[in-house]
């Protein structure tokens, strides 16, 4: 069992609070992704878990043992670094064997473990090579092999794919996912790349400014962002936000956006009742709108500013009232700048956000 529990951890650098009273539990064998823009504290949190920087406050335990103040080597963890941190003066074998040697493991067993790890990463042909003669992708493989050779219960990864080129990244992403599922170690994976996070994680913890904003499965985070920041951060293009005003019409809450009215689904009604006469933010994803080339019932007119044919979709930038939004359409949908399109907002795809707290409103929260 190696559940990781982070309780109220705070880490400051001078006056700057990098991690602010963060709590997070990662279940045994879970793949947890820490996602956030650069400077959000995700790497600082990972380093605190690794023992590479003592937290100022709070407690970290691994498998029920408090490790907050233990040295990294006493935590039984393993790690892949952003720059790989391959020892440049050792060949691949010695790199992979380093941690095992430090544990004073027997020669034969080291040999066995290194071989096994190298085979898993398909670098068994390069064991006597030096890192200076290897490509970035190969070094990355060595870094991962070194981490898995430890057979630690906890594997920490700090943006391991960020230094690879796009194609290689795609390939390694899938390979890492398969490998980590096979290993069954509790994994914390730091990245700023939301696609990586979405594609790999069992759960994603979205961080911003030292705080965890939401911890959920990838689909939940995508479909039900906890706040405006997450909606805007996750997804390409990000969620559209429209500013509107709640009104009561015929006993219903209706939001007025410019000259248009939108009626929330019944489920939301009780929640939105308190916003009558107040401003509200409406969020909707580009692909969740229905785009029509002619006026229709309940469809809002928007004028096209930019058309970007992307192959699998056409991405439109449209002007709706005073706001711009991105709309994704079927590639066969033809339009042109300055033309008008009509957008239909499915009520169940609309997210409601409190403009003051920026929090998303959900009926059962």
């Amino acid at each position: 069992m190696s559940e990781i529990m982070i309780e109220n951890v705070t880490k400051r650098f001078g006056n700057f609070t990098a991690v602010d009273n963060v709590s997070l539990t990662v279940a045994n064998q879970e793949f947890m992704v820490l996602l956030g823009p650069s400077g959000c504290g995700k790497t600082t949190l990972l380093r605190a878990i690794a023992g590479l920087g003592m937290p100022d406050d709070g407690r970290i335990s691994i498998g029920g043992h408090d490790v907050t103040y233990l040295a990294p080597r006493d935590r039984h963890i393993s790690m892949v670094f952003q720059s790989y941190a391959i020892f440049p003066h050792m060949d691949v074998f010695d790199n992979i064997a380093f941690g095992l040697k430090m544990q004073k493991m027997g020669k034969a067993e080291i040999q066995e473990r290194v071989k096994q790890a190298a085979e898993m990463m398909h670098i068994e042909q390069m064991l006597d090579r030096f890192p200076s003669k290897m490509s970035g992708g190969q070094r990355q493989r060595v870094a991962v092999a070194r981490a898995i050779a430890m057979q630690a219960q906890v594997l920490l990864m700090d943006e391991p794919l960020s230094n690879l080129d796009a194609l290689l990244r795609l390939e390694m992403r899938a390979e890492l996912k398969r490998l980590l599922a096979e290993l069954g170690a509790t994994t914390i994976y730091v990245t700023h790349d939301q696609i990586e996070a979405m594609s790999m994680g069992d759960r994603i913890a979205v961080m911003r400014a030292g705080i965890i904003e939401q911890v959920s499965s990838p689909t939940t985070i995508y479909d039900f962002p906890a706040n405006q920041f997450i909606g805007g951060f996750i997804g390409t293009p990000p969620m559209n936000f429209l500013h509107g005003q709640m009104q009561r019409q015929n006993g219903h809450s209706v939001v007025r956006i410019g000259e248009f009215d939108l009626t929330p689904q019944p489920l939301m009604q009780p929640l939105l009742a308190s916003y009558d006469g107040k401003p509200i933010v409406v969020g909707i994803r580009a692909e969740n709108m229905e785009t029509l080339s002619s006026p229709a019932e309940g469809a809002l007119r928007a004028s096209v500013l930019v058309v970007e044919p992307l192959g699998s979709q056409n991405l439109l930038t449209v002007k709706l009232g005073d706001s711009q939004m991105k709309v994704s359409t079927h590639p066969d949908f033809t339009t042109q700048p300055d033309a008008d399109v009509w957008l239909r907002f499915p009520a169940d795809k609309i997210r409601w956000i409190d403009p003051d707290t920026k929090r998303a409103l959900y009926p059962n929260a």
Partner: protein, 296 residues
């Protein structure tokens, strides 16, 4: 639907075991820091104490210099008398002037010859570039001073022996390799793209150099020049071999050392140390350009 994060059921209750661990870790961290500071301070003392001693000897009365046991507290009484005694000794003021003249000629000559070479090794790729760099490194590592002996013979036969400027020629040979390498690294730290950008925006190559590169490298080159000055100021072997009448300051101090009283020696050492210590503080930003180079 999970929205917010915190499973804040237990606001980190501080168990006694954890408190103990934490205290121990903090203590170890603190101890480590303290140890580093202690080492840093001890090593600083090791460097500074001898300077402290010589300064306090130089800035007091000659009588105090001769007294025994000496107090560790310095400057009691504070007086320029020892310094005055030294500076008024025979050959010191002319030596000082010679030293400055030699160092200035060396600085000028060395910078003038080294700057184009430094530019060449950092900006061009050409056949023989590595060979050139390696030979510069080799000369740099050589005990060039020892060549003062054959140079003395040459200078005598050419008739320029015992001249301030002929010593400057020797010192230039001594400092040239270092200056080339340092100026090379200074140029290398200015991206070539800047020059290209200047050309794209309408400069001729010479203008590009003068308006864009020169202002950027000037501080680095000035640091190199200052260092050249210090090397020449300190050099004593060649100075004592190549001059007889026109001694530089260190040469003058060296040849009169055995016949001189202690106040003269101490004041001389202090006076020799003073400019170099000041210079090192001025150019400390460039120290690594200067010496890190050698490990390349």
């Amino acid at each position: 639907m999970t929205s917010s994060a915190a499973p804040s059921q237990s606001i980190a209750q501080v168990s006694p075991e954890m408190a103990r661990l934490r205290a121990r870790a903090r203590r170890r961290l603190l101890l480590g820091r303290a140890f580093i500071y202690l080492a840093a301070i001890l090593l600083s003392l090791w460097v500074l104490a001898p300077l402290w001693f010589i300064a306090s000897m130089a800035l007091t009365t000659p009588a105090e210099v001769r007294s025994y046991p000496k107090g560790v507290l310095p400057f009691i009484p504070f007086s320029f008398e020892t310094m005055r005694f030294f500076l008024q000794s025979r050959g010191i003021i002319p030596g000082l002037i010679n030293s400055i003249v030699v160092a200035v000629i060396t600085l000028a000559l060395s910078t003038l010859i080294a700057a184009p070479a430094g530019y060449a090794i950092s900006r061009y790729r050409y056949r023989g570039r590595d060979a050139y760099r390696l030979s510069i490194l080799a000369v740099r590592a050589f005990p060039v001073v020892i060549l003062a002996i054959p140079l003395a013979v040459i200078f005598i036969s050419v008739g320029i022996f015992d001249q301030v400027y002929s010593l400057a020629l020797m010192h230039t040979a001594l400092t040239l390799p270092t200056t080339v390498l340092v100026i090379g690294s200074v140029f290398a730290s200015i991206p070539y793209e800047l020059e290209e950008a200047a050309k794209v925006f309408g400069c001729t190559p010479v203008q590009a150099f003068r308006r864009v590169v020169l202002p950027l490298v000037l501080p680095g080159i000035a640091a190199a020049a200052i260092f050249t000055f210090v090397m020449s100021w300190n050099e004593v072997f060649a100075a004592v071999v190549l001059t007889v009448q026109n001694r530089t300051l260190p040469a003058q101090v060296l040849v009169s050392l055995q016949q001189s009283p202690e106040p003269y020696k101490f004041a001389g050492a202090f006076f020799l140390l003073l400019p170099s210590v000041i210079f090192i503080f001025i150019i400390r930003k460039y120290l690594f350009n200067m010496w890190g180079q050698i490990s390349k």
